[in-house]
């Protein structure tokens, strides 16, 4: 699963959100390191909708403009959980191996 997809599903796991809400939430989740742009977001939503991982929730009109909310489906949540579990195993493996290394500058305090 690519990072934008992972971050979009993570954002929607908190509850239905509209496009701009997803963009700002992704920025928050990634500590401002990942900036999702509209082209990437809507291409990803199109694909996720086709795969049944995301669906349209509701629509409201704000300042005369349609604002559509999206929500994660059960299948989407399962896929996200599987991906998060995979990443957790990988990062645990990396952390446990790094903790076996002699102290390296820059790592100190980074490993709990």
């Amino acid at each position: 699963m690519q990072e934008p997809t992972f971050l979009i599903l993570t954002a929607l796991a908190a509850g239905p959100q509209h496009g701009y809400g997803i963009i700002t939430d992704v920025q928050r989740i990634s500590d401002g390191r990942s900036r999702l742009r509209a082209g990437t977001l809507y291409a990803a939503l199109d694909r996720l909708g086709e795969e049944g991982l995301v669906e349209a929730d509701r629509e409201e009109i704000v300042d005369g403009r349609a604002r559509r909310y999206y929500r994660i489906t059960g299948q989407g949540a399962r896929r996200l959980a599987a991906e998060a579990e995979r990443m957790r195993r990988h990062s645990e493996a990396a952390m446990s191996r790094l903790s076996g290394l002699p102290d390296l500058p820059g790592l100190a305090g980074g490993l709990a």
Partner: protein, 323 residues
Amino acid sequence: MNGLERRYRRLLAWYPRDHRVVHEEEMIGVLLAGADSGCSRPGPWESADLLLGALRLHARRAVRRVAGSPWQDALAVAGVVGALLVLLRPLTRLAYGLVMSPPQAPEVLLPLVTTVTPVLPAAVALGAAAMNVRMVAAAASWWAAATIAWNWATIQVPYSGAHALTAWPWSDSSLYLAVAAAVALTLSRTPRTALVLLGARRVVAWSLMAVVVLLPVWSSAAPVPPVVSMIVSGVLSDGGSLLVLAVIAAGLALRRPAGRRAVAVLAIPFVVQLTWSTSTTASANGWLTALLKVLALTAILAILGRRAARPAGDGADPLAREA
């Protein structure tokens, strides 16, 4: 509407229509909300991201259309019919060669034998297609195409040397056919559908007809009445491509969209060949006739494909449905 919004709309015009209908206003809202205040035009990264997004949506819709059932049927029919022609062409040639000029020496027999080498892979491809083993069908059909290319190289290169390379492999219409069949069988998920659609009786009848039509192809090298050879060479200008196309079109006049689409799939390489073969012998007159031929072929294909319009709902936006 301010300048920024107008520029965003210009970029969104590149998006697929079904996507624009559902998401354009929403995307404009997102883009304007994310734009820095006082900004009058989209930044280069943002523009590139929007255009890339449009490209991805178009690509996905194109894949979805090809994967959709009408084109799947057509790919199966085109693959099987193409493989059948790859099988029948050399066999017909061998039969004709043996009947008309019984081989006296190995140098006569050898070219005849090498022509037959695509027969085995083509037969394997057809057998695998009949049993719906798509990987084997695809691999065997590429093997058949490679065999034809190899035969061409071994026969032609020693005679015409470097000059042959400029013409290769665009001069051999059977190679085009084999490649088109291989592409179709590679993309087809259920090649067996072709036999269900065509029916065993139609396949046999069509094969016999193809043999009868293909026989004169080889007679142009044999002593025949001048009138016949004139007609044959007239029909066969451009390496028999038009003739083969006619065989395919006649054989597939199924009055079914899948048949017409299959004709379109198989005809694409012939249109390319026609353009190429004329462009290599370029004269002003040649270009004009090539253009006319390509236009005529395109018109035939357009008429054949006219009624094969894709059904409504195909390629619709997956997020258009309200929950």
